[in-house]
C-alpha cells in the first residue's frame, strides 16, 4: 500500500503540471486558433524557451543539492559578451566556428567553479556568493563590451546554430539534448545520487563518506556550464552579444525549477518537472503575446502560477507524510 502511495506522489505532481500545460494550450487554441496551434508557432515557443530551459537544467542540480545560484543570468551575459568580442571573432575566423561556443562554455564553467569554490571551500552562503558573482559578472561584461552590442559576423557559426536539422532549429535540439543528458545524469549516475543525498541530508552524506565539498564545487561548475550553453543559444538567436543578455533570467529559471517540483530545500529534484515548468511559462508568454495582452498582466499570471504550484506541492508533501506513516 505505502509503496504505491510513494510512487503515486510524483506521478500526481507530474499529472498536475501536464494538466496545467494542456489547459494553457486549450486557452491558446481557443483565443488564437491557428496562430497558436501551428508548427511555426510551436517552434517559436520552443526556441524562446531554449535559454531558460538549458539554464534550468543546471539549476535543477544546484537546487536539488540544497543550494541556489543567482548568478546564472549575469554569467549568460558575460559569456555572450566574451564569446563575441572582436578577438574571439577573429580567432573564430582563423581556427573555426567552434571557438565561439567553446569560449562561452569556458567562461560559464569558470564562473561556476568560482561560485563553487566560494560556497564549498569558502563556506559562504550560496545566496551571497552567487549574488556577488551576479554583480561582478555583469560589471565585467559591461567593461568588456563597453556597453556596446557586439554583432556576431562569423557565418560558419550561424551555419551551424541557425540550421534546422529535421526542420527543428539547432537551438531547440540543444535544449532537448541538454534536458535528456540532465535527466540521465540526475537519475542514472552516481553524480545524480550524490546530488540528491547531499540535498536530503548533508551531514549524513558526509558521515557516509561522500566528498560533499568537491561535489558542491562540481554542481556550481555544472550550473555555470549550462549558463555558457545558454549564452551560445542567445548568440545564435539574437546574432549579438550584450552585457544585458540574461538580465533577470535567474528568476525565471528558479521559478521554472521550483514550479516543476524540485524542492527549494533540497533532497528532491526532477528534470521532467523542470522541463514542464519551463514549457508552462513559455507557453503562457506566447499566449499573452498572441492575444496582444499587456506584459504586466502576464507578470501577474506568472506570479499566480508560482503561488499555486508551490501551495499544491506543499499540500502533496503533507499528504505524502501522512499516507506513508
Amino acid at each position: 500500500m505505502s509503496q504505491r502511495s510513494a510512487l503515486m506522489g510524483p506521478a500526481l505532481r507530474m499529472g498536475g503540471l501536464v494538466l496545467a500545460l494542456i489547459l494553457l494550450i486549450v486557452v491558446g487554441v481557443a483565443t488564437a486558433g491557428e496562430r497558436f496551434w501551428s508548427t511555426g508557432n510551436l517552434i517559436t515557443v520552443l526556441s524562446l524557451a531554449a535559454v531558460t530551459g538549458v539554464v534550468s537544467i543546471g539549476m535543477t542540480f544546484v537546487i536539488t543539492s540544497g543550494g541556489i545560484d543567482l548568478s546564472v543570468g549575469a554569467v549568460v551575459g558575460l559569456a555572450s559578451v566574451w564569446a563575441s568580442t572582436l578577438a574571439t571573432q577573429y580567432a573564430a575566423e582563423d581556427y573555426g566556428w567552434w571557438v565561439i561556443p567553446v569560449t562561452a562554455l569556458a567562461v560559464g564553467l569558470v564562473a561556476g567553479l568560482i561560485n563553487g569554490l566560494l560556497v564549498a571551500y569558502g563556506k559562504m552562503p550560496a545566496f551571497m556568493a552567487t549574488l556577488a558573482m551576479l554583480a561582478a559578472a555583469r560589471g565585467l561584461a559591461e567593461i568588456i563590451a563597453g556597453r556596446q552590442t557586439q554583432i556576431v559576423d562569423v557565418e560558419p557559426f550561424f551555419d551551424v546554430f541557425q540550421a534546422r536539422p529535421l526542420g527543428v532549429p539547432t537551438i531547440v535540439w540543444i535544449f532537448v539534448v541538454v534536458a535528456a543528458a540532465g535527466w540521465f545524469l540526475l537519475n542514472r549516475t552516481t553524480f545524480g545520487r550524490r546530488t540528491v543525498a547531499v540535498g536530503g541530508n548533508p551531514e549524513a552524506s558526509r558521515l557516509a563518506g561522500i566528498k560533499i565539498k568537491r561535489h558542491t564545487l562540481y554542481l556550481y561548475g555544472l550550473a555555470g556550464l549550462t549558463a555558457g550553453i545558454g549564452a551560445v543559444i542567445l548568440l545564435a538567436r539574437t546574432t549579438a552579444g550584450s552585457s544585458t543578455h540574461g538580465t533577470l533570467l535567474e528568476l525565471d529559471v528558479i521559478a521554472a525549477v521550483v514550479v516543476g517540483g524540485t524542492l527549494l530545500a533540497g533532497g528532491r529534484g526532477t528534470i521532467t518537472g523542470t522541463v514542464l515548468g519551463v514549457l508552462i511559462f513559455s507557453t503562457l508568454t506566447n499566449v499573452f503575446v498572441l492575444n496582444n495582452l499587456d506584459s504586466s498582466v502576464q507578470a501577474i499570471a506568472k506570479g499566480a502560477i508560482i503561488v499555486g504550484a508551490v501551495l499544491l506541492q506543499q499540500w502533496f508533501a503533507s499528504r505524502e507524510r501522512v499516507s506513508t506513516t
Binding site: G200, A204, S205, G209
Partner: protein, 509 residues
C-alpha cells in the same frame, strides 16, 4: 475543587498523568507522570532521548499528547499552542536561548504581548516594568534599552526569565539552564531560582549535573525510554548513585551474546594514541583488535561521542594519531576514514545517519553506490539486491527496500545503518548509542548483530549511556569521565557499581 488536601500536603499546581506522544514510527513518550507543587524546584532527570524535550514541548504547547491528561490546579486543560501555555502560566526557557538578538531587552521581554495603545508602543512603560522585573531578578545593571545580542549567555537567560515573569508565570520550565553558564553565573542562577520559588513559582529544572540537582532540587522525577521510572523522589533522601542507576540501569534484563574471547594473536586493527580535541577530551589511547568489542562508558557530556567522531574524522583532532591496520589517517577527513575501512553509526540517526525521504536501499548503499556503479552509471538492480540481502540477514522489517527510511521504527533504522556498513565491509565499526530509541524487543537482536560483526573480524567500539549495556556487550571497557579515560580493563572484571564510582569520582574531581 480547591479543597486543601486534608493530609496537609499541598495541592499540586501541575500534574501530568499517563502522557503518551507518538510520532510517525516512534513513541517518544510512553506513559509519563509528573506532579509539580507550587514553590518547589522539581528536577527532571534522564538520558538523552529519554523523552525530556518531548515532555517540555508538550507542556509548552508545541506538541499535543497522543494520550494522557494535563491538569492545572487539578483541572484538566488542553495546551493547544504556545500562547495557550503562557496564558495558563507555563513559561519555558529553552536551552537554545530563544531571544531576538536585534531587539532591546525590553522589546524582547514584551515580545508577543507588547504594551501598546492603538499600535503605538508605550516604550517608557515597558522600560519601567522591565526595570522592575530585572530588579526583582537581581540584575539592575542590565539596561532595558540594551540590545540583547550584546549580552552574554547568562544575560540572555535573565532576559528569558524576565519574559516569563512579565507573563506572570506560575510554572517555569528550564531546560539545562546551567549548560551555557560558567560557575559564577550558575551560582547567580541558583539564587534567582530560589527567589522565584520563595514567591510560590514552581520551577521544573532539567540538568545533567547531579551535584547541581543536589544543591537546588526539592524533588526529582526520572525519565527513561519515554516513561517515568521514579516519580517525585525527595532529593535529600535519594543517594546520587541510586539516581544514576535509575537513569542508566535496566528495567528489563537482556540476553547478551556470548563473548568468545579475542585470540591472543589477533592483530590490532585500530590504534588510537594520545588523541585529544581541544578542551573536550585529551590523552585518549586505545587499541582494538580484530574480533574485539571495546565499550566506552560514561555519562552524557563526558566526551564519549566526541571521541568516536574524532576517530572517524568528523571532528578534527587537536592532538594524537589514529591508525587503521598500521596506516595513519589524515585527521579531520571523513572520506579518508571510510576509505580506510571505518564506519560510524552516529548517535542521532535521523539527523546524522539517514536520508529519511529516500528509499531504504539507497540509505543502505549510501557509502557504496559509487563502488557498485560501473563507470559512474548507477546499478540500482545490484544496489537493491545488496540491500535486500542485508535486510533479510538482519531481519529488518518491513522487508521492502523501496519504502522510505522515515517509515521505519528506531530499531529498524538502526539495522539499516548497520546494513550500510555491512555492505561496505568494515574493518572498524564505531557505534554511538546503538540501542537509543530501539524498543526493548529489538535490542537483543542488535546486540547479537554487533557480536556477529566482531566475530567476522571487525574491530568494534560501542558507546552507550546504559552501563549494563556496555558491560554486557563489550570485551573491554574504557570508563570516560570529564574527557579522560579513568579506567581500562576487561568488561568481566568490573561491575556497574564500580563504573559508577569511577564516573562519579571523575566528575567530582
Amino acid at each position: 475543587m480547591v479543597d486543601v488536601d486534608p493530609s496537609g500536603v499541598e495541592q499540586p499546581l501541575l500534574r501530568m498523568r499517563g502522557i503518551v506522544k507518538e510520532f510517525p514510527g516512534a513513541r517518544a513518550l510512553d506513559g509519563v507522570d509528573l506532579e509539580v507543587r507550587p514553590g518547589e524546584v522539581h528536577c527532571l532527570l534522564g538520558q538523552n532521548g529519554a523523552g525530556k524535550s518531548t515532555l517540555i514541548k508538550t507542556l509548552a504547547g508545541a506538541h499535543q499528547p497522543t494520550a494522557g491528561e494535563i491538569l492545572i490546579d487539578e483541572e484538566p486543560v488542553v495546551i493547544a499552542n504556545p500562547v495557550a501555555a503562557l496564558r495558563l502560566g507555563i513559561a519555558t526557557i529553552y536551552q537554545e536561548l530563544d531571544v531576538v538578538d536585534g531587539l532591546t531587552v525590553a522589546e524582547n521581554i514584551y515580545l508577543g504581548h507588547e504594551l501598546a495603545t492603538g499600535g503605538v508602543s508605550r516604550r517608557s512603560e515597558a522600560a519601567r516594568n522591565t526595570r522592575k522585573i530585572l530588579d526583582r531578578l537581581g540584575h539592575k545593571e542590565i539596561s532595558p534599552h540594551r540590545e540583547v545580542g550584546s549580552l552574554p549567555a547568562a544575560g540572555k537567560q535573565i532576559v528569558q526569565l524576565a519574559r516569563a515573569l512579565s507573563r506572570d508565570a506560575r510554572v517555569v520550565i528550564m531546560d539545562e539552564p546551567s549548560a551555557v553558564l560558567d560557575s559564577e553565573e550558575v551560582g547567580n542562577l541558583h539564587r534567582i531560582v530560589r527567589e522565584l520559588t520563595a514567591d510560590g513559582v514552581a520551577v521544573v529544572y532539567i540538568s545533567h549535573r547531579l551535584e547541581e540537582i543536589r544543591q537546588l532540587g526539592d524533588r526529582i522525577t526520572v525519565l527513561k525510554d519515554g516513561r517515568t521510572v521514579a516519580e517525585s523522589l525527595v532529593v535529600a533522601d535519594t543517594p546520587t548513585k541510586e539516581l544514576i542507576q535509575l537513569m542508566t540501569g535496566r528495567t528489563v534484563e537482556y540476553a547478551f551474546p556470548d563473548r568468545p574471547g579475542v585470540a591472543e594473536d589477533a592483530e590490532p586493527v585500530l590504534e588510537v594514541e594520545d588523541l585529544g580535541l581541544g578542551t573536550v577530551f585529551s590523552d585518549v589511547s586505545l587499541t582494538v583488535r580484530a574480533g574485539e568489542i571495546v565499550g566506552l562508558a560514561g555519562l552524557v557530556g563526558s566526551g564519549r561521542s566526541e571521541i568516536l567522531e574524532t576517530i572517524y574524522g568528523a571532528r578534527r583532532a587537536t592532538s594524537g594519531t589514529v591508525r587503521v591496520g598500521g596506516k595513519r589517517l589524515r585527521p579531520g577527513v571523513v572520506d579518508a576514514a571510510v576509505a580506510a575501512g571505518i564506519g560510524l553509526c552516529p548517535e542521532e540517526r535521523k539527523s546524522q545517519g539517514l536520508l529519511l525521504d529516500e528509499p531504504v536501499y539507497r540509505n543502505i548503499t549510501l557509502s557504496t553506490f559509487s563502488r557498485i556503479a560501473r563507470g559512474g552509471l548507477l546499478d540500482e538492480g545490484a544496489e537493491r539486491a545488496a540491500a535486500r540481502e542485508q535486510v533479510e540477514a538482519l531481519d529488518l522489517r518491513p522487508a521492502g527496500v523501496d519504502r522510505n527510511a522515515r517509515t521505519l521504527s528506531g530499531g529498524n533504522q538502526q539495522k539499516a545503518l548497520l546494513a550500510r556498513w555491512l555492505v561496505h565491509g568494515c574493518r572498524v565499526l564505531l557505534l554511538d548509542e546503538p540501542t537509543r530509541g530501539v524498543d526493548v524487543g529489538a535490542r537483543s537482536e542488535i546486540y547479537n548483530l554487533i557480536r556477529r560483526l566482531a566475530d567476522d573480524g571487525a574491530a568494534v567500539i560501542v558507546v552507550s549511556s546504559e552501563i549494563p549495556e556496555v558491560l554486557g556487550l563489550a570485551d573491554r571497557v574504557l570508563v570516560i569521565s570529564d574527557g579522560k579515560a579513568v579506567h581500562e580493563g576487561p568488561a568481566r572484571e568490573i561491575d556497574e557499581h564500580a563504573v559508577l564510582d569511577l564516573v562519579m569520582e571523575g566528575s567530582v574531581a
